[in-house]
């Protein structure tokens, strides 16, 4: 089998040949370096700009998203502002909402659970959540999150009750941030303590916010 003739167990066939799309291996790293060399060579981007972009990305963390969620849990009016315009809400808390991509926050309720995927690449609200986890960029997650989302959630340890599951495929300019439900048993908690329950995975929608007893354990990478 040549590179252009690989089989397609993932539900599409060919209208034009392409090499197998995989996320792993050194080939991707080599491709990125070659692309970077070409972009620099043609004066489209400088090494410094690349470095600044990477520095910005790795300086971002889900702690920022967690602050937004915790504030929304304690302040219903702030929650409305977050749902209406997440960028303005982030600025209100002194957070960096990042460059142009538009962040839209969606709220999990007792009737609806949201879960986010980007089937076409790996779109993600990086400014508020940091770099996306490896699994988020993997082909299995990207394909199964839309076709078998409840199966995927079960593998993450989340057995959804009888609620509507709404999968958001962020195919274009919008980046989605899930506001998980506030856990029971957190009445009277302050924002900082609440934020410790807001895991990265809960803001992607593959998990609920941590239960109060589990708050001491850290998020897995």
């Amino acid at each position: 089998m040549t590179d252009n003739e690989h089989s397609h167990p993932h539900g599409h066939d060919h209208q034009f040949p392409h090499v197998p799309i995989t996320d792993e291996g050194a080939a991707a790293g080599r491709r990125v370096r070659l692309l970077e060399d070409l972009l620099v060579e043609h004066g489209l981007v400088s090494r410094d700009e690349v470095r600044q972009g990477i520095d910005w990305l790795v300086s971002r963390s889900p702690a920022d998203g967690a602050r937004l969620v915790a504030r929304a849990w304690v302040d219903p009016e702030f929650k409305q502002r977050l749902l209406a315009d997440a960028r303005e809400a982030a600025l209100e808390l002194g957070l960096d909402p990042g460059p142009s991509p538009v962040v839209v926050a969606v709220e999990n309720t007792e009737d609806v659970h949201h879960m986010v995927v980007c089937t076409l690449c790996s779109c993600y609200p990086k400014a508020l959540l940091g770099p996306p986890p490896e699994w988020y960029k993997s082909l299995p997650y990207r394909s199964r999150a839309v076709s078998d989302p409840r199966g995927v959630l079960a593998e993450f340890g989340l057995d959804l009750p009888d609620v509507e599951l709404r999968v958001l495929d962020s195919t274009a300019d919008i980046r989605y941030l899930v506001i998980p439900r506030r856990p029971e048993g957190t009445e009277g908690w302050n924002e900082e303590k609440l934020a410790s329950l807001v895991t990265r995975d809960s803001m992607i929608g593959v998990a609920n916010a941590a239960a109060p007893s589990a708050s001491a354990s850290s998020a897995r990478s």
């Binding site: 839309v146 076709s147 599951l165 999968v167 195919t171 300019d173 919008i174």
Partner: protein, 93 residues
Amino acid sequence: MRYLPGQEVRVADRFHAGHHRTPGYLKGKVGEIQRVHNSFPNPETRAYGGDGLPVQALYQVAFAQNDVWEAYSGRQGDRLCVDIFEHWLEAVE
């Protein structure tokens, strides 16, 4: 802005050679406008050094999972909400 929330639309079932942001698994499927986002530069020309103009309206379209996947085994009422540019949508009468 051609479509309004609640309106039924079909995703155009056409081949597009080159970069585009309409997932193949939705081509030809019928959904409902859930939300009107904003207008953005067209990625189909922007990807090749163009300016992406004219901008295209972007909609969040909701599809019933059962309409997208024949073998969907989840709950009735589960939905898939996908952002699709206006020039990929057709009105359903």
